[in-house]
Amino acid sequence: MAFYLEKKKTKSTPYILIDEAKNYMKIDGDSFPEFAVEFYREVNDWLGDYLETDFKLFTFDCALKYINSSSTKILFDILALLDENIAEDKKIIINCFVDSNDHMMTELYEDIRDELENIKINLLNT
């Protein structure tokens, strides 16, 4: 059975969609959970297993708006994990949606992108 997870947005946590059948993940909204590690555990656990499978193309749409420092650390680790697992026959597309006036978020993505060797992060203005 392909994994499927959908979590509603709250005041401090983003909308999350994982649709393994479609090789797709989306995170959308603000992220400053009370327990960030706990909140993202399901995502991390699934991703670890998924990356072991023989998928061909995985897409991650990241539309985080406000993100606190512990969530940023978790996002960095997710992106670094994707970076390590990219291969010739395993393509990964990462689309990051940023408010064009939000220079700090743009800078953060640019800095993360510079740190990761293999993966391409598409920065898209909203």
């Binding site: 606190n68 940023t72 978790i74 978020m105 993360i112 510079d114 740190e115």
Partner: protein
């Protein structure tokens, strides 16, 4: 004590009026309270037409100050919930965030040296330090801290972080910190 309370309320009212505070909070830092105070702050920033950059910077300072108090405050309710104080003040084109909490004296030198170090760095160095910490640190499972909060505050603040430690007793000190965001033109 109770008999003086009507006077206290007058002092409190006059004090908050004179410093133009939008949010004054002292109490338990339940996550729900932090969310609600965040909503009040966002509403105020919306009505003042802050740019998205200023909104992000100020909201970020607020959230990281709250997280910092959650981690370090030595003042707790009987149920073990951390307590602290927070002010949000608007004055002369800048938003100020202030937090205050009791903490163990043993943490004082560490906090002091970390803030002094951050205050000595320019924005570009802070940006580099932040990404470097993202790469190298791990989240502390005890308190969810990754050591990034103070760097984030320094990155977002328009001026150096101001702080003070006031004596409390033999074990505890009252730590207060202030960071501000000078408003750019609204967009």
């Amino acid at each position: 004590m109770i008999s003086n309370m009507l006077d206290y309320m007058l002092d409190f009212y006059n004090m908050t009026n004179s410093c133009n505070a939008d949010v004054i909070y002292k109490g338990a830092l339940w996550h729900e309270n932090i969310e609600e105070i965040g909503t009040v702050i966002r509403r105020k920033m919306d009505s003042d037409n802050l740019s998205s950059r200023d909104c992000r910077a100020y909201f970020s300072i607020f959230v990281e100050m709250m997280s910092n108090m959650l981690k370090y405050s030595a003042d707790k309710t009987d149920g073990g919930v951390t307590k602290g104080a927070f002010f949000s003040v608007y004055e002369n084109g800048a938003y100020y965030a202030l937090c205050g909490n009791l903490m163990k004296i043993e943490h004082k030198e560490l906090i002091k040296s970390r803030i002094d170090n951050l205050n000595s760095m320019d924005k570009m160095s802070l940006r580099r330090l932040y990404i470097n910490e993202l790469k190298t640190t791990n989240i502390n499972p005890e308190n969810e801290g990754a050591g990034l909060g103070l760097i984030e505050i320094a990155k977002c603040a328009s001026t150096p972080i101001e702080y003070e430690f006031f004596p409390h007793d033999e074990q505890l000190t009252f730590f207060t910190m202030r960071a501000s965001v000078s408003l750019m033109e609204a967009n």
